[in-house]
Amino acid sequence: MSENGHLEIRNLSLCLDGRKILRDVSIDFWAGRVHALIGPNGAGKSTLASAIMGLAGYRDFEGDILLDGQSLKSQSVDERARRGMTLGWQEPARYEGLTVPAFVLAGAADKSPETVARVLHEVGLDPDRYLTRKVDKTLSGGERKRIELAAILAMEPRIVLMDEPDSGIDVEALERIFDAVKGLKQRGATVILITHSLTVLRHAEHAFLLCCGSLVDKGSIDRVAGYFENKCIPCDHHNAREVAPAGAGRP
């Protein structure tokens, strides 16, 4: 079976604490393309990303997730990662004492010191200033976000889920992140940008709109952006509070 990076979500429904968060979601993330998964807060975007990555608490669902035709359901987080899939967290973890190079090289394809310098440079961080730093509370949220992206670049993944890539990031740094997304695409990676930002959406090639756990629209960026801008932003329902209990119909 060829390993291209085609990710299929098939009729996925997921409950957390007795509430249905995702409802019969089916999506194709095509290999080598940049996708956006957009929706308001509480739409279920991060939940879907967590299920795709196989994180603890998100592995019990109906439906299936397939990578290049093979189900990921029985695979652990690290097994999925070793097949080339990874996730950039909305708020990256902090590690007492762990140095930036140790963090960046942890999953790197090439563990040479040159890799650290190269990927830090790619995300716009001066390697000389970060080689002795720790991935702890002395780094700002934006710095940690960029260092996490550097670690992802070092891994040379085939599928990258990026949860809210713009959160805590200033405008200049955001451009570097978008450059890195372009670089990932050029290397043939499938990128999934999880966002509620129209700015981020514009850097994708294809978009999926989630609302209250359901896929409500998909297609070109202009189409989905129009729907999101005209219907979701003015909408006064609050997803987080209004998600109906399991068994209820679509909103």
Partner: protein, 308 residues
Amino acid sequence: MTDQSIVRTLYESIGMGDAPPQAARVIVHHNRVLGTQLVPGFEVQVEEKPDGISAVVTVKEGVRIAQPVHMCFGMLPEKGLQRIELRIRMEQRSAATLLAHCTFPNAVDVTHAMDAEIVVEDGAEYSYLERHVHGPAGGVLVLPKARIRVGDDARFKTEFQLVQGRVGTIEVDYEAAVGQRSVLEMVARISGRGTDQIKISEAAHLCGEHARGVLTSYIAVRDEARCEVRNTLVACAPYARGHVDCKEIVQDNASAKAVPVVDVQHSKAHVTHEAAIGSVDTKQLETLMSRGLTEEEAVELIIQGLLT
């Protein structure tokens, strides 16, 4: 064994091929001094005793020693007692870093007791970095005790780290009084396994105005190991600032307890504390696993970061 081969074996056990050629040093095996090298302004008087040594170390006024002074305390036999009495005086405006390796590579039943009195006079800077190398059996009872007085405008730092082997039993007992505008930092990094027992009791009294102190413990325990950390920070002067930080990772059937005591005796002082005890943080773990590390590799890297 000749003295020369004992020194070589001690140094090999701590991962150093030989004594650093230029740096000041003191090498003690059990109760014998096997080597000293002094530099101007760094004075050592050593007395050999039946079960250890007694040493008076003085760094003279205004002397700032650039290279770390190396001290090696060790015992190669499987059994025995080594008692170290240290009287350290950092005279005014002096500065030195002491790197002490305590090595017991073959220990089955060894007791290493250190009793230190440390005076850091006004304007002086003193760092004491204690690195322990133990054997795989964990047969070491380590009893480091220090009473510390830090004058005004001075800096004091101590860092205790077990870098290799099993802990055995460690009971750290440090207490310090800190003067005006001075800074104190105590750090302990220890990994326990098997039936290791770790007890840490560190206390600092921020007695002078604008005195600052941080007590930090990073501990990882697994198997049946036990750990108890009691860190006490007393602030009794205006603008004294302090923080107590304890992070303990617990795995298997191990257990850990942290008792941070924050005692503020002046309305213009401020002390904070933070303790996190338990399993490895899920987000930390899953982040590394999402880069392809197995759970075991991810835990190891997280603990390594915490303890290094």
